[in-house]
Amino acid sequence: MTAVELRSEPESRGDAVRGAGAARLPALALLAVAVLLCLLPQFGVEMPPALAAIPDRFILPWRQWAGEALTYVAKDSHIGPVMVSEITRGIAGVILQPMLLLQGLVSKGLTVGGVELPPLPWPSVMLASALLGLRFGSVRLALLTGGALLYAALFGLWDATMLTLASVLVSVAFGVLLGTWLGILAFRHPRVDRALQPLYDVMQTVPIFAYLVPILYLFGFGPVGAMMATVIYAMPPMARVTTLALRGVPASIGEAAAMAGCTRGQVMRLALLPSALPKMMIGVNQVLMLSLTMVIIASVIGADGLGAVVLKALQSLKIGRGLEAGLAIVLVAIALDRLGQAIAERRPQHRDAAGSRRWALAFAVALVLPCLLAPMIPALANWPADWSVSTASWWDARIAQMNLAFAGPLRELKTFAFLWLLRPTKLFFLAVPWIGAVTLVAALGLLLGGWRLALSCGLMMLFVAGCGFWEPAQLSLYLIAISVALALLIGMPLGLACAASPRFNAGMRVVLDTIQTLPSFVYLIPVIMLLGSGDFPALIAIVVYAVTPAVRFTADALRHVPGEIVEAARMSGASRWQNFGWVKVPLARPGLLLAVNQTVMMAFGMLVITALIGTKGLESDTLISLSKADPGRGIIAGAAMAFLAIIIDRLLRAAAGGQAARP
């Protein structure tokens, strides 16, 4: 999920802690009762069945209601005489145009005034992107942007890469614009902000399968439907970051602009947004990265491109080919990210007009010259097949070798993990009675935030327990709990190292970007070949993915500890370890809790993938609902997942201080 700074307003923190102080004793007592209730089954105490799992006759027909509501919205809803789906499809038709234009330009060719034009030849695109790198960055950046495309051509992935590039660019542009707009709206109206926050949580935690059917109905099958699904998942960080960045702009800047006679819109456009831009770039980065993690899912609903290549290769276990295409996704992601950063960081320079004219000329030549030559030299129009290379068979042979050589030792590791970690935790979670879970959540809410938090979290947990998916919910939670613990155990020390050494940090950044954008199926399928499917590969998938925010946010939290305090502690005789344990960690506590929070969110986001390798929790219900034509099942299971994530998020935020005042 989002790896975004959600650092909260510090001013509300003191009140929250004081407010919680009064209720401390009853809250602690309630907590003790809750823990006892949860642990009773472990000591062999039989709970009354009605307290262990809510009896069926008390379970409301949520599933049916949700299914009917969903079918209505997707297929029958009207505004006046006009079908809602006609309106949304009209919108989709508008959004499709820039997408078609870009796709036509780089990949499919365009028809202008009845004349069919071929797409830009590969040297045009490659040279232009290298020049962009050179213009805004350095020779290194030019090598990266040009090199990423050279890789695509070399491995016979040119067309797929161009299609992915086109759809990702449009998705990112759409996501950034929408996110900025919503962010501004939330900045101006705190009430809107409060309404949007839980919506964002839902957008980022509910697996796409739960709402795929309405998306496909409303926006059609193909690039626009895929883009909508991508934007739903990738946009929230942008909106959140925009609001936070605008709040961080000193009030004097806005006031100065207003006094100079700017209208409200001008103040935003000319003063506030430019000042907030550097901070907003992390939002752009996240939209980009998350859009690229969605290319596999997007390929499932009609978006052609690299995702489709990966998926098709893995369907018949051509792992080498899947890896080649997966690496192309990673390279495109890193190149776009670094280019975007270079553009945003560039200070306006007063170069002479002749200089920028030279650049414009260079771009024009790079774009046009290959177009003119292409009809005469076919190798320029199409990358010749015999220039392509493939390492696929080499990789396949390595995987087969590994399968023979490492399956034994790896299986011992798996056996150990299963017997001592997975099975006991699973049994523990499955034994927790619903009454214990609800009480525990409410007690923690009371302790950390107050009665409002207790009530809202308790009610959400009650829904999870009473919606008819209690056992799948426990299975999802068990997997999340183990993976988050492991991800933090691995990620936090790495984050520590990143904070300490800039060089380690630079290397780690490439690793993390790769992890975030390489489709996880590329490494999961070999793991399944070696170890079989089920919970163990699922655990690996979640841990690998959720380590990213653990590292990033830990490093970030430690880096922002004020240097003078650390220095003062050192001068007053604190040893290195004392300084770390007694000064740095307490000061970084809110940031570290944020790391935990984001790791949990990311883990929830990954459940959508584990459903595809055979886990049986809520995520599996959202997947099954699709093929059983039972949309209610998917929606309710998805809602239960979102509630679980929101409960954990709110409790952790309250623990970090700050958000506790929030309802």
Binding site: G302, N403, G532, S620
Partner: protein, 324 residues
């Protein structure tokens, strides 16, 4: 798509125009003209056998002057697209995914265009060497022997044996079958065909004992020597009447039914594409044709569209029948 393709497709249009000018008198050609103006959208799912079936038909339409758009879609998600009219035809609907197919047909927006003629066989599949560990196979009773159960057990499934189950959204009836036939097995979930294949093929490459859900036509059962377990033959009563079969208290004490791969279409597409719809109804292959296609793609490593082209070229007489 690229420059070269643009050239050829352009020439094709020119050629088609010239042809239709020559046969202006023929009403059929004119009808086809109106039809071929907009592209025919056909589902491809990225699964080798399904894509081969789709590409043979797509290639055939292209030979007949149609423009074809191959829409990439997930197997389950395609039904939404077919209902909404985002796709015209799908050529690979398995009998065993009845729930979603029936739901789509019930909306009245999707219609059944008949069988492809490709027979489906699916069930409990094992590589041949498993026979040595479980003497008596392919008869299902061999799976009850303790030695066989032990050989097929894993750390998660012990003391029972492990069965690599199909994705949870496929209708395998295995949970009921385990109960009805008292098979000491645990079903290990996979979530996608890719994971199912990976779990079985990984073990086969190591020559380890394994048993799981297999199906034909499919590249795995094509590429690795193996067999299906023989359960009591399916009869309709077995699925509904507990009294039927060896276990008087349970249903599904039998095999899954055999079936066909079906073709479906969006209901409105027939009005727009009457001739292409007729061709779709007449279109049929055999399981052997599909097996050939799978070998060409997954063993020889050529593109599915190319393999389909080859097949069309090699069977002009069969192909001509679909255009009658």
């Amino acid at each position: 798509m690229s420059y070269r393709k643009f050239n050829t497709s352009w020439m094709k249009t020119l050629g088609a125009a010239a042809l239709s000018a020559t046969f202006l008198a023929a009403p059929q050609a004119r009808a086809a003209d109106a039809e071929t103006a907009s592209p025919v959208r056909i589902v491809v799912t990225g699964i080798t056998d399904a894509d081969f079936i789709a590409n043979v038909f797509a290639g055939f339409l292209e030979q007949n002057g149609y423009k074809v758009e191959r829409v990439k879609a997930d197997y389950a998600a395609q039904f939404v697209g077919l209902e909404a009219g985002d796709m015209d035809f799908s050529t690979s609907i398995w009998d065993t995914s009845r729930d979603i197919m029936d739901a789509a047909l019930a909306t009245g927006k999707v219609q059944n265009m008949g069988s492809t003629g490709v027979k489906i066989r699916e069930g409990w599949w094992y590589p041949l060497y498993v026979k040595e560990l479980c003497p008596g196979l392919p008869d299902w009773k061999a799976l009850l022997e303790p030695a066989c159960v032990k050989a097929l057990a894993t750390v998660e499934s012990a003391p029972k044996a492990r069965f690599v189950e199909a994705p949870a959204d496929w209708t395998t009836n295995n949970a009921a079958r385990l109960e009805a036939l008292k098979l000491p097995f645990v079903l290990e979930g996979t979530g996608t065909p890719a994971a199912l294949h990976a779990a079985i093929v990984g073990a086969v490459q190591r020559k380890e004992p394994v048993i799981g859900w297999g199906f034909m036509p499919d590249w795995m059962t094509e590429q690795y020597p193996g067999e299906f377990v023989q359960f009591p033959h399916f009869e309709a009563a077995c699925a509904t009447d507990p009294k039927w079969g060896g276990n008087p208290d349970k249903v599904w004490d039998c095999d899954n039914p055999y079936g066909y791969v079906w073709k479906v279409a969006n209901t409105k597409s027939e009005a727009r594409l009457p001739r292409a719809s007729r061709m779709l109804r007449l279109y049929h292959l055999t399981a052997a044709d599909v097996a050939w296609g799978i070998r060409r793609v997954d063993v020889d490593g050529i593109e599915s569209e190319k393999a389909a082209e080859e097949w069309l070229k090699a069977h002009p007489d069969l192909v001509a029948d679909w255009a009658l």
